[in-house]
Subunit: 272 residues, 2 copies
């Protein structure tokens, strides 16, 4: 039985990711990678039509058969792949962005049917860049430093700032996707983006009032926590930030007390 | 506004993690790290009593003040820290497990109040081990390759194989914890462990019947998908694996058809 994993959110804006393979699995990887703003280099002799259409629009149909190495300087604006090398994998490609001991890759992902080759890519990556190089070999759990899971983006699709992931640590990929779908249904209708906007604005305002010493910081954080909990996840989209800021100022100046108004009054006066 | 993250489940069994700091934040890190089976080295001049009590039980009260470097050979069985170095951070410690270009650290995490020092640890880690070294500096988002989020373990606590994470990409840590709590309430009562056991057993049985070629594999996977979806997340804990295996065998031998019995019959005959 596998142990637990540590679930982490990787910040990949502008960082290089190596994707070896261009098939259906590569497509699922790209759907998750591109919204992070990562600079993806894809290496594959054949590229799935959907990958081609969605992420390689910078390559003209004429060019596609005359060269193998395509770079898009405008990849970020186009939400596409940064570089496509349309041929079989060569180990030299591991060093495309290497500088001395710096591999240049935040992640190395392989999703090719050739099992021995993908295993060799794993081991060679570790040999060259150390065990600290994060690698995922699709369909080969022992060679995965990280697993993918079922993801859910709350709110406005690719721009959503709130993300959820469920992993069964390889035990039931289809089942976790169902659980994910169920969670989506249950939380439907909540405006997570407005909620985060309101809470962000309130946190900012409150930070401007309190001083920066550790006692004030603690009070401020506790106050925000109590406030968020009082309203619950369904009401934060309607916070009256202005009135709540005044409430904080009053309580802060009144000896930093934690005597919030009764719940009834909170809901009546501080939601809009 | 921050872009999206790539959410990944890190497999850390037996891998070294460096944790610089021994306070309240370190405690929250340890709660997530220890169940992964990672080999944690903690470096801090002062250690929070709860960290000491929960994860350092191998250090006797007499020893605690006579030495600084403690290793527990039996750390895995005790669900504890592997090594505690009870003094201020020194940069030599980055090389504790280094072998040439291999840093020896899967993750480097700092959670100390000294901001300049933690920034220097970040930069020195990248200098020595390359940009591929994953680092998290608590409370300093620009120096985080990865963010932590609100986690939820379904089922039997630390042994749970199903895990969920929610991240707001730093925008509303308290709000995502509330969403996590809401999801926990909504899914209460579902036996996720039995569900995964049943689906695992069924997948195993079905794999033994179908051949390994790509057409059979595809049929087998589609069949499992349809089956899981038909029963939904609330019924997989009651699957009759034996009867479902027979059903698969029949359908597989009958020209690999996808004509499942009517839903009514499925629920009556194939749940127990």
């Amino acid at each position: 039985m596998p142990g637990q994993s540590l679930l982490l959110a990787h910040r990949l804006e502008g960082k290089n990711v190596l994707l070896v393979g261009g098939g259906e699995v590569a497509l699922t990887r790209l759907k998750k990678l591109i919204p992070t703003g990562s600079r993806v280099t894809l290496i594959a002799p054949e590229v799935h039509p959907a990958v081609w259409e969605k992420y390689c629009s910078f390559i003209g149909p004429d060019e596609a058969n005359s060269r193998v190495d395509f770079t898009d300087k405008d990849w970020r604006a186009k939400n596409g792949i940064y570089r496509v090398i349309k041929e079989g994998f060569k180990f030299d490609y591991l060093d495309l962005y290497r500088k001395d001991n710096d591999s240049g890759w935040s992640l190395i992902l392989t999703c090719i049917p050739d099992k021995p080759l993908s295993e060799e890519i794993y081991h060679e990556s570790k040999r060259r860049f150390g065990s600290q190089q994060t690698v995922n070999v699709a369909d080969n759990p022992p060679l995965c430093d990280v697993y993918f899971g079922a993801e859910l983006n709350f709110g406005a699709g690719d721009d959503s700032r709130m993300q959820l992931m469920i992993s069964s640590n390889g035990m039931g990929p289809r089942f976790v996707a169902l659980v994910r779908d169920e969670i989506r249904r249950m939380l439907e209708g909540i405006d997570f983006e407005s909620s985060l906007d309101n809470l962000g604005a309130l946190r900012q305002a409150v930070r401007g009032i309190a001083s920066n010493d550790s006692r004030d910081t603690k009070y401020r954080m506790n106050w925000m926590k109590r406030c968020t909990e009082t309203f619950g996840i369904k009401n934060c989209e309607n916070l009256n930030v202005e009135e709540l800021t005044k409430l904080f100022e009053k309580m802060y100046n009144d000896d930093q007390n934690m005597q919030f108004p009764r719940e009834e009054e909170m809901f009546e006066k501080y939601l809009q």
